[in-house]
């Protein structure tokens, strides 16, 4: 367990809790077969690639998704291409420099499959893949965390929009492609390295945001000892 008394860091500002809401938009691109899917991947705006990896967290979903992104799920469920679905599912956008590189990786894996296969896999007209993008509205809640030991009591009160912003959306904003909490903790030097590593080990891909909030809270409570510090 970490020590429970800590001071404000001279190196960092208080943590500004933000919130966000997301609304989905049609892109006009859709695919009924793997070739159209590749074309769609090439043409859709970057926001659509982002949406199908991350934005979907703020959309209706069941909390035990088999695949980590919408592309892989469709390729498996509608085209019955299990191997390709697995290859698409292991793509973690945090491993790539930007969304363009993620797009290229997706396209390459689909192209490989098209090259291997003599037939282009198809699905029914009413089971097409619809490329969607989203608009994200970021808000200031006006609330702050002063010291890391505030985290275990404040994270459970956060909206799922805040969890999305600080834990998911942060992956494209923070230097080490992690979450905002971990990034903030670097302001205390090495003091919270253990906690940072634990937070960074939380895999957000297979949970709903409510579950994710619970998982992050559990890590924080374990670290700070019940969240009463």
């Amino acid at each position: 367990m970490a020590e429970q008394v800590d001071d404000k860091s001279p190196l960092t500002q208080p943590f500004n809790i933000r919130d966000c809401a997301l609304v989905s938009m049609a892109t006009g691109y859709k695919a009924q077969n793997l070739r159209e899917f590749k074309e769609g991947l090439l043409r859709v705006p970057e926001g659509s690639i982002y949406h199908h990896f991350w934005g979907r967290f703020l959309e209706p979903q069941f909390d035990e998704p088999e695949y980590s992104n919408d592309f892989a799920a469709w390729v498996y469920h509608r085209l019955n291409e299990k191997a390709l679905a697995e290859k698409l599912s292991v793509i973690d956008p945090a491993d790539y420099e930007d969304i363009e590189s993620v797009r290229q990786e997706l396209v390459e894996r689909v192209e490989d499959r098209l090259y291997e296969n003599e037939f282009v896999p198809w699905t029914r007209a009413d089971e097409q893949f619809y490329f969607v993008r989203s608009q994200i509205v970021v808000l200031d809640t006006g609330r702050y965390l002063e010291i890391p030991s505030d985290l275990p009591s404040r994270v459970p009160e956060m909206t799922i929009g805040s969890i999305f912003y600080h834990f998911i959306d942060a992956r494209k904003r923070t230097e080490d492609r992690s979450d905002d909490f971990s990034a903030w903790l670097t302001g205390w030097g090495d003091k919270y390295n253990d906690l940072r590593l634990k937070l960074m080990a939380v895999d957000p891909f297979f949970s709903s945001l409510k579950e994710l909030r619970f998982m992050v809270t559990r890590v924080l409570e374990e670290y700070f000892g019940g969240g009463n510090s």
Binding site: A21, V23, Q135, L139
Partner: protein
């Protein structure tokens, strides 16, 4: 916190309502007008009845206006409704003229309110031409389509598109419903109101009262479909599924429907349904008045399984309502039912009466699975399909429309 929103916080969570306050802050004081074609009957009126006071509670200045039509007008708009859902419908010049005249007259009546609004939400095709009759409008106009628009009948869609294309944005319930239009198309699924008469918790005795009220047998499994008597809801297919399942398991079926004031075709379908049901004492066809919300609530809670065997469906709010009450749903594999009925998790999606019969038998046999699916169904609705989520997306959309097409709108000062 406002008393109304406080009540939603109790059901949906305090964090959810706090989020709404955050989002509404930049929109405070803005004038918003919703226009649709009826105050009673149909999902749109049900949503607006609560969405409007909630927006008001968040500090927006909201009005709900209703278009007043003639029988010719409703005949025409029913034709639009069917055509948007893909049925070939021929509309005469006279019908279109009635449509345009009613719109011109209503727009004239409402023009001062509409032209000074910051946001106007026009629901469905009935009042779509309003925009063209308000040349001095100053706000943003959004057309909200609640209908399954995945394969609209082209000639009718081309006509309607002329009225819709000049809007600042449109909203469809699902991505597959979106059409090629020269403005942003938002995707917002509808929702249910957990505090409405139709969805609030009921005392046990009120639930069991429906057995006496409608001559149902308390010891027989009850399956239910609640919907208008409309071909797209396939009530005849439900009776067929019941007949097939009945060969293997004893059960009773209730088909409960209400009429909406803008649906002249319902009577005809109801006659066909009554005929198909006439030799079956355990099939009950109930035509309920539009305000029978508590009765529908009790029927849904009294049921073992709820069906929504639609062939076409916009979203299927009756599915959401049933799931909220912890019932697994056997639904048609179409439209918004797909978003709600997660096959094998919250119910089953079927494509035929045979498929529905098979799943009815399965769930009545595997009551452990029935219960499990019911619990999951309620959770899916709690997290995704309550009015609070719907309102959140409207507010985000309003901020989005004010900021153009940017992916990220940073309201942090």
């Amino acid at each position: 916190m406002n008393e109304l929103l406080d009540r939603y916080a109790e059901v949906a969570g305090r964090d959810v309502v706090n989020h709404l306050y955050q989002l509404a802050a930049p929109l405070k004081g803005m004038k918003v007008v919703h226009v649709n074609s009826t105050k009673e009957g149909g999902g749109v009126a049900e949503i607006l009845r609560k969405l409007v006071p909630m927006m008001e509670a968040l500090g927006l200045d909201v009005k709900w206006e209703v278009l007043e039509g003639s029988p010719d007008f409703y005949q025409c708009t029913k034709g639009f409704h069917n055509a948007i859902q893909g049925f070939p419908v021929e509309l005469s010049e006279a019908m279109l003229e009635a449509y345009e005249t009613v719109n011109a007259e209503n727009a004239e009546r409402l023009r001062p309110v509409l032209e000074e609004a910051d946001f106007v939400f026009i629901h469905d095709p009935q009042p779509a031409p309003f925009l063209n009759f308000c040349p001095n409008r100053r706000g943003k106009w959004v057309w909200r389509c609640h209908i399954d628009c995945s394969r609209p009948y082209r000639p009718v869609w081309k006509y309607l598109k002329n009225w819709i294309q000049d809007y600042d944005a449109s909203i469809f319930s699902l991505a597959q419903f979106a059409q090629l239009l020269p403005h942003p198309q938002y995707l917002i699924a509808p929702s249910i109101d957990p505090l409405s008469e139709k969805n609030i918790d009921l005392p046990e005795d009120e639930i069991s009262e429906v057995f006496d009220q409608f001559g149902l047998k308390p010891d027989l499994p009850l399956i239910l479909q609640v919907s208008r008597f409309d071909r797209f809801k396939d009530p005849l297919g439900v009776i067929e599924a019941y007949k097939q399942a009945r060969k293997m398991v004893p059960l009773q079926l209730v088909l409960a429907g209400g009429g909406a004031t803008d649906d002249p075709e319902g009577e005809k379908v109801l006659d066909e349904v009554r005929k198909a049901a006439e030799d079956n004492e355990d099939v009950h066809v109930l035509l309920l008045p539009p305000d029978a919300h508590r009765t529908i609530n009790a029927l849904q809670r009294a049921s073992d399984i709820v069906l929504q065997k639609s062939i076409k469906e916009g979203f299927g709010l009756t599915v959401t309502e049933a799931m909220w009450k912890g019932k697994p749903v056997i639904g048609g594999d179409t439209g918004g039912i797909r978003l709600q009925v997660v096959d094998h998790f919250t119910g089953f999606r079927v494509r035929s009466p045979e498929g529905a019969a098979l799943r009815i038998r399965y769930l009545l046999h595997r009551t452990d699975r029935l219960e499990e699916m019911g619990i999951r169904a309620r959770r899916l609705v709690l997290e995704n399909f309550l009015l609070t989520r719907h309102l959140r997306e409207y507010l985000a959309l309003m901020i989005g429309v004010l900021h153009g097409l940017e992916d990220r709108i940073d309201m942090v000062q």
